[in-house]
Subunit: 412 residues, 2 copies
């Protein structure tokens, strides 16, 4: 980035099953909180990027959901872009907003992520898989998963793939059994991720689940599909999160240019590499680019929010983000190093597994958590002396990668 | 804009009812044509903005439709942003792509608009109104329309508003009767727009409707809701359009920096102005800003593509874009000045009324037409000596304005 964007304000709702609240209400709470946090008013905004992944099929508001939400708050006139990139939707809104500010095009931009999957009266829910993978090729996707599982030598009943559960859980199973076979990673190590994130979630009043689980609790829970038990899978949810980004000039006016939270880099990439070197996964490339642009190395990172849509994903992302070497993700999960108080706390918010995963809101919620960490405002979840934070979020599925992936580095 | 973006290549499908073709196929045709037209390959692309407004509810591919389409063409790795802004969806994709190139962030960006509303086998169609206005407040929207119609003194049967037809046609009726009352505009003048655009459409092999209609043909057609007859309403359709935008540096490499098509400005705004001066409509403000950034005045414009979702809209936009004074839109429609060969031809493509209106594709299709005009490649539709072209496109409905509006100025 040519210049930096600053995070001036953040806000979010509690994530969860908000059966009595609509998307306007949820997004309104998050946006108002972010503006208040930034000491800015709606009149300061030059543009808005509003992310929503799937609520249209539930609410009927297929088009211009961003404008409908903003109107309720008296925000008009400005350019509003509705963006979508599956689970990376709000990360994309954030990345686009940061890029526009960083390029000098705007002084103050709102990035919003919002989702409404539980319907107010019908209690309908949206199964992620109908949208985020390629619906036309769903059979091919399932065959690919089965082939990966078979090649790993695992003997699993995959008949329910994409039927009795979200197809994404089957994708994660394929990745998990591959990792287990290659590196000896254990189901217990995956369970350690869920237990750790339940501890973090228990300290986060905005988390969907706040109960504390032991590793044995996780292992003894209902099996979704081996090796995943229920607490190893992220839930469906409703919620919203908002971030106000400002230019260096505006940051100076607000008194946050020194010591405030800067977006040192934010990189978006699409996940399908038709000339892919199989030894280097896309997340590694994107992380490498984001670290390079920010001038950091993995050793500099103090805390991380990453896309733990399943417990095995967190183990894999430890490695992709360079928090440990290849194959060392399982032992790292058990070591305590990624728990609050450890060397490099990961998903202090509770992560997708415990804070919840309202698809289109998740990316901005990661920025909310990391901003509070860098400001020293994370309360019981505070990572002492946090100066460098990384957010990673992937969305959709295309061939064997995320359809969209964003890695952002925040510093103070 | 700080520097200019150039239109290096354009491509589109014929618009219409492509019952036998899916969105990947349609978008693929448009993208391949645009890349070939630009003499560029997929490897030259640095990013893609993909617009789709409503196909997800028909195809089931709610999330990441852009990545799904691009994968089919072997386009991966690059940042892909799925954008939506109702009828202004593809204009937003174009505006974002042009802005990114202009800011120096990329050398080569693809903007795509695509729509699939007729389902391949089910022949289901999507009624625009379920998405593009505020579904939660639909009753309030309808009451607003009825109040406007009543205030204009018209005695219309509005019982079918938003029920037997798209709510948008009722919105246009409200605007039309207001204009008729205030300026004496006639139904025959609206019909003149449809007749003129049918002439343009008859010369455009990519138009959904290519038959020629006289003013009397239009007036004698089935009434949708007075004063609109069927040819005064734009149709539902399938189709795709693509534009390749390049930096000045890349334009020099391609030999189009001199004499090629430049994006002199592209302005996006949201349509709700909570402190609105009723005498100045949002489209006027956006057009003014776009003209100012491009350094042109209305007298410089050689041809225009504008959002004639209904015939009265074209009359109103004549005035908003400064092609004539307030209240002079009706007489201008009848004068022949906006017909091929006239002073300032409008919608030489046939416009939304005749070329068709696959919602998410329309904005890029306007750029395709204008680029061909500026290059002198428009064949029978050529506007002689065209040097300055304007595209206007509005999307959605919020209070009494478009939820999103884009005005772009192209020059050569």
């Amino acid at each position: 980035m040519k210049q930096n964007a600053f995070v001036a304000g953040v806000g979010m709702t509690r994530f969860g099953k908000h059966i009595d609240r609509g998307m306007k209400d949820l997004a309104g709470e998050a946006i108002n909180a972010a503006l208040a946090d930034a000491n800015l008013s709606r009149d300061d905004l030059n543009a808005a990027y509003v992310g929503n992944a799937a609520a249209g099929v539930i609410t009927g508001q297929v088009c211009v959901p961003g404008q409908m939400v903003l109107r309720e708050l008296g925000i008009g006139k400005i350019p509003v872009v509705n963006v979508e990139n599956a689970c990376a939707t709000a990360s994309t809104a954030f990345q686009q907003a940061a890029t526009m500010v960083s390029a000098g095009l705007y002084d103050c931009v709102l990035a919003v992520g919002m989702e409404k999957l539980f319907h107010e009266d019908k209690q309908r829910t949206f199964d992620v898989f109908t949208g985020a993978a390629d619906t036309e090729d769903m059979d091919a996707v399932i065959e690919g998963i089965k082939a990966t599982v078979k090649a790993s030598g695992a003997d699993l009943d995959m008949e329910g793939a994409g039927k009795t559960r979200s197809i994404f859980m089957d994708i994660y199973v394929a990745w998990a059994v591959e990792h287990m076979k290659k590196y000896g990673t254990t189901q217990r190590q995956f369970a350690a991720v869920s237990a750790k994130n339940s501890y973090h979630g228990s300290l986060n009043p905005r988390a969907q689940y706040q109960d504390l689980l032991t590793v044995d609790d996780v292992l003894n829970s209902r099996e979704v599909v081996w090796p995943l038990t229920l607490p190893m899978c992220s839930p469906i949810g409703d919620g919203a999160a908002a971030v106000v980004l400002v230019s260096e000039k505006k940051a100076r006016e607000l008194g946050i240019a020194d010591g405030g939270v800067r977006v040192a880099s934010s990189v978006l990439a699409s996940g399908w590499d038709y000339e892919r070197d199989d030894e280097i996964k896309l997340p590694q490339k994107v992380a490498h680019q984001a670290y390079e642009e920010a001038g950091i190395s993995p050793g500099d990172i103090d805390c991380v929010e990453l896309h733990d849509a399943s417990a095995p994903s967190e183990v894999l992302y430890y490695e992709y983000l360079g928090l440990c070497g290849p194959g060392e993700g399982g032992p790292l999960a058990e070591s305590g190093d990624t728990k609050l108080g450890g060397r490099i706390p990961v998903n202090t918010s509770g992560g997708l597994l415990r804070k919840g995963h309202p698809i289109g809101a998740t990316g901005c919620a990661q920025i909310v958590e990391l901003t509070e960490q860098l400001r020293g405002q994370a309360g019981k979840r505070q990572v002492e002396g946090a100066r460098v934070a990384v957010a990673e979020n992937g969305g959709g599925f295309i061939k064997d990668d995320a359809a969209a992936l964003v890695v952002s580095v925040l510093t103070t």
